[in-house]
């Protein structure tokens, strides 16, 4: 079974990568195995648990449910693209640390990307909106309470960031 490889150009975290993959290669496998971006995790590989979430043009999608060849042309953001610099954390990442919005850390990158996507379109989400946003990401450790708190905290801090000093 010699399968023809397809060349695909992936824009990931601002850098362009040209890779040759089997057409059946999922975006998740391509990110992990070819680009060594292992922050995206396989959980169920059938689109339920959300552990493989990445952002495509800012929208949270399941990288296990799409082929790498389908991602050609999109701006892909993985968890590795969120940190502002070595040793630094984005406000959402820092809020997850402050609230301890995780335990084992396996679903965490996907949760944080989902939270980023939510806060980009809705800087002041209600509790119900946060729950709706993360309802496609299964966490088996936390019971979600500290995750919801982390996202609310991040939203609060990110809104505060843009206030003039005398009002903050």
């Amino acid at each position: 079974m010699n399968v023809e490889l397809k060349k695909v150009e992936l824009k990931v975290n601002g850098a362009t990568h040209v890779v040759e993959v089997e057409p059946r290669t999922s975006l998740l496998d391509c990110l992990r195995d070819r680009l060594l971006l292992t922050g995206a995790h396989a959980g169920c590989e059938h689109g339920v648990c959300g552990a493989c979430t990445v952002l495509l043009d800012g929208v949270a999608v399941r990288s296990c449910l799409m082929f790498a060849v389908q991602a050609d042309g999109y701006a892909i953001t993985t968890i590795e693209g969120l940190s502002p610099g070595p040793g630094e954390l984005s406000p959402v990442q820092d809020a997850f640390c402050e609230a301890h919005g995780m335990q084992c850390g396996y679903c965490t990158p996907a949760m944080i990307l989902t939270a980023h996507a939510l806060l980009a379109r809705n800087p002041s989400p209600t509790r119900a909106q946060i729950i709706e946003a993360i309802s496609g990401n299964i966490c088996r450790c936390t019971g979600y309470a500290q995750i919801v708190e982390a996202i609310a905290l991040a939203a609060d801090r990110m809104r505060g960031q843009n206030l003039p000093p005398d009002r903050s």
């Binding site: 922050g39 995790h41 968890i79 301890h100 084992c104 396996y106 709706e132 299964i138 088996r140």
Partner: protein, 798 residues
């Protein structure tokens, strides 16, 4: 207790150090470890619940591109020993690949090794196995009866364990009581189902004769059992404990995966890995939880005080023995729950069937047992027309009765159950909660209040092993910590096992910082591998706050003692006159006389001539700690101290059920939690909330359901329903702290009690809601479809 009266860092709301790597995607999970040239395994699995394997034709698979090898059970069995079993059941051998007979649908029959996982999967489909289907048995009670199809013919029956314990004057107490109640309560087959499946990579170096293993493991004695099965000395197996485990809660005991991959790595001379896909995980990963029938009978008086209990627990452990029958043993350590039941008869039965193998699940069998006890308390109250809370108050062990010896031989260390309950009732405004239930009922909803208490035996000991297997005299377990101070004066603490989200690095840092009076963030915490590790029995049995925390405490005390001894010698004053303060050692009678941390480090590492005579140079100390109260064999009638510490939780909830949908909705949830001294509040809160979510899943959604022809129906996340953020309600936690006398800070375990109490509380609430309809639901999970049918049936009948 040797702890200081108040703490600098313990119990303060500090961040969890592990979190920083996880939020940036830099956790190092098993699937992230890809040695150069690693080959991938995919599995050929049995489509039958029970079948003789007539032949395996590998030719087509071997001819496919990228395929290196196809391994069958006969070849593997010739090269390895069977996997360790908990009980003495030599005729129930368990191996990674089926030999001659496959005993459950999904059992691994052959393993394909290829250049990529995709190629291995392609080739696995091309392996042709000829099966002869055999009669099978799925139901545990049926398997227990003589004449049912035998899962292991050589064993002669399907019964692995059938032992009846009698503790106290059970018959006399029954005869003396005016009331009896007997019912069957059933716990359905579910598990913890972590989002990360099990993964393991093995690499054999034939020149060094070392098998390196990276695995998502949570298992006592994993390196040793791997070595025995592979016929290697344990000094040739190096398990790397610095692998982050993506959730486990008991189940990640991938010993069969490891022996398979370890053998392949040696056989092929290449690194080999197996990372389960979800299908392999659900049906063949051998990680299902208990499936248990309880027949409970209690004898009680007019006041609802229960004097005696008879419990028969029959557990369907699946096709092979493993360690799972021990899950009937651990509940012996809290067989009366938090209640003063003075005599108990307990029959523990483990049977094999043609289902997936059972493995350890959070609380190791205690959650089903607690559910059975709590259901019984509710029914006793209902029978007498008494308030369920009042019946509990009358039966609960009272604060002044601790330490309290239960009939089965364990002494509960400490507790104040009535106070915890009162705190919960106050927080919830119980009268208002009842009024809200009645308001909902008046509106036509079904509504109920759920009440459940639970104990979390903690400190993870081995007592259930000799209890259920007389050939096994493992009387206790231990854990360890090593601390070294380097030439520059910085501190590194070493732990000796892997973790799966419990925050153990934070635990060690906090404890060492507390004792040494320095910022915990200055304490580096690393993990040994199994070849340079001190003894650990891994983070099972809710033990690490007690055991790793205890070992770190004692190691830090040793270090402090060494620093004081060095200063005493160098200052030429008696050690008793010296005080250790934040790294410095000071003469309390002349404070200007002191030695700083830097000076003491320099003496220990460089100025050896200034060390006390005979003292080892350097600043490295280690402590290996056995489980407090452990170390004794059970009595002939099966009494033993199971675990040292007993945390308490009380769950209270309001559930509303739309009678047309049958959908239970948790409207309010308050839990009272007493795990003694809390070391890290963020971690304890997370453990409690996560355990509750997991318990809600077991109570309402999750079940490994089988079809009549023996196939696992719930084998994806479309069928096996894990609670999402929508299903888990906000939970209010009320804290109380009754310190344990057995631990260094008064801490107890906290990883399990959410899961121990939530299923019982949900069952209690649903039954309270259904009582007006005359419905009793005594089996879990209470799925929405079943609930809807029961309600519809009852309404039609009325």
């Amino acid at each position: 207790m040797t702890a200081p009266a108040k703490f600098r860092f313990v119990s303060t709301d500090r961040r969890v150090r592990e979190d920083r790597r996880f939020v940036v995607g830099k956790g190092r999970f098993a699937a992230d470890i890809m040695p150069p040239g690693v080959k991938h395994v995919a599995l050929v699995t049995s489509p039958h619940p029970h079948a003789r394997i007539r032949s395996i034709d590998k030719r087509a698979a071997l001819a496919m591109p990228g395929v290196h090898y196809v391994l069958d059970g006969a070849e593997l069995a010739a090269a390895t020993l069977p996997l360790a079993a908990g009980l003495d059941t030599p005729n129930v051998p368990r191996r990674p690949l089926a030999v001659d007979v496959a005993r459950y649908a999904g059992e691994w029959v052959a393993a394909v090794v290829a250049d990529s996982r995709a190629l291995a999967e392609d080739a696995a489909e091309a392996v042709a196995v000829d099966y002869e289907p055999l009669p099978f048995v799925l139901d545990g009670e049926e398997a227990y009866r003589p004449g049912s199809p035998l899962v292991h013919a050589a064993h002669g029956s399907n019964v692995l364990l059938d032992r009846t314990f009698v503790w106290g004057e059970v018959e006399k107490d029954f005869a003396a009581c005016p009331h009896r109640l007997k019912h069957r309560v059933t716990w359905g087959r579910s598990a913890t189902v972590p989002i990360e499946t099990f993964g393991v990579t093995a690499s054999w170096d034939p020149w060094r004769e070392i098998l390196d293993i990276w695995a998502s493991i949570q298992m006592p004695k994993y390196p040793d059992q791997t070595a025995v099965a592979l016929k290697l000395p344990a000094s040739s197996v190096r398990v790397h404990y610095d692998v982050d485990v993506g959730g486990s809660y008991g189940v990640k005991r991938g010993i069969k995966h490891t022996v398979l991959v370890g053998h392949l790595a040696r056989r092929l001379g290449m690194p080999v890995r197996l990372v389960e896909d979800r299908l392999e995980n659900m049906r063949g990963g051998d990680m299902h939880g208990p499936e248990r029938n309880f027949d409970v009978e209690v004898a009680f008086d007019d006041a609802g005080v229960i004097h005696a209990m008879k419990m028969r627990a029959l557990d369907n452990v699946g096709a092979y023995a493993g360690r799972s029958p021990f899950q009937l043993g651990k509940p012996v350590g809290a067989i009366v729950g938090p209640y003063r039941i003075r005599s108990v008869q307990y029959q523990a039965i483990a049977v094999v069937t043609n289902k997936t193998v059972q493995e350890a699940v959070r609380a190791f069998g205690q959650s089903p047992t607690n559910y059975a006890i709590e259901r019984t308390i509710d029914e006793v109250a209902n029978r007498l027309g008494l308030d369920r809370l009042e019946v509990r108050r009358r039966n609960l062990i009272r604060r002044e009765e601790f330490p309290y010896l239960i009939p089965s031989g364990s002494t509960y260390d400490s507790g104040d159950y009535h106070t915890v309950i009162e705190k919960v009732l106050q927080r919830a405004d119980y009268a208002a909660l009842v009024a809200e239930r009645d308001r909902l009922r008046a509106q036509g909803m079904l509504a109920g209040i759920g009440i459940a208490a639970c104990l979390e035996p903690s400190g993870g000991n081995s007592s259930f092993e000799p209890l259920l297997n007389p050939k096994n005299e493992t009387t206790t377990w231990m854990d360890s910590c090593r601390i070294s101070v380097d030439l520059g004066g910085s501190i590194t603490a070493t732990m000796h096992t892997s973790s799966s989200g419990q925050g153990h690095e934070t635990l060690v840092g906090t404890v060492v910082g507390e004792v040494l009076e320095i910022d915990p963030d200055r304490v580096r915490v690393v993990r040994a591998d199994s070849l340079n590790a001190l003894p650990s029995n891994s983070p099972v049995g809710s033990r690490m706050a007690i055991m790793l925390g205890g070992a770190a405490f004692h190691a830090a005390q040793k270090l402090k003692g060494k620093l004081v001894a060095i200063a005493a010698h160098d200052l030429n004053v008696p050690a008793e006159r010296l005080t250790y303060r934040e790294g410095n050692v000071i003469d309390s009678s002349a404070p200007e006389r002191k030695r700083s941390w830097a000076e003491l480090v320099a003496i220990a590492h460089r100025h050896i001539h200034r060390l006390p005579p005979g003292m080892e140079p350097g600043l490295s100390v280690a402590h290996i700690m056995p489980v407090p109260t452990g170390g004794t064999l059970p009595t002939p009638d099966g009494r033993v101290q199971m675990y040292p510490c007993y945390a308490f939780e009380f769950h209270l909830m309001l559930v509303a059920i739309d009678p047309d949908l049958g959908k239970p909705e948790i409207r309010r949830y308050v839990v009272g939690h007493d795990c003694g001294t809390v070391i890290n509040p963020k971690i304890v809160r997370g453990m409690t909330m996560g355990g509750i979510a997991h318990g809600i899943g077991a109570a309402l959604y999750e079940e490994f359901a089988y079809s009549g022809d023996g196939l696992l129906m719930a084998q994806t996340f479309m069928d096996y329903l894990l609670p999402s953020a929508h299903e888990v309600p906000p939970v209010e936690i009320v804290h109380h702290a009754t310190p344990s006398p057995h631990t260094v800070f008064g801490q107890k375990g906290s990883g399990e009690s959410g899961y121990l109490g939530a299923p019982a509380a949900v069952a209690s609430a649903v039954n309270d809601a259904l009582r007006p309809l005359g419905i009793v639901v005594n089996s879990l999970p209470i799925k929405m479809a079943r609930l809807g049918d029961l309600i519809a049936q009852a309404r039609r009948g009325s």
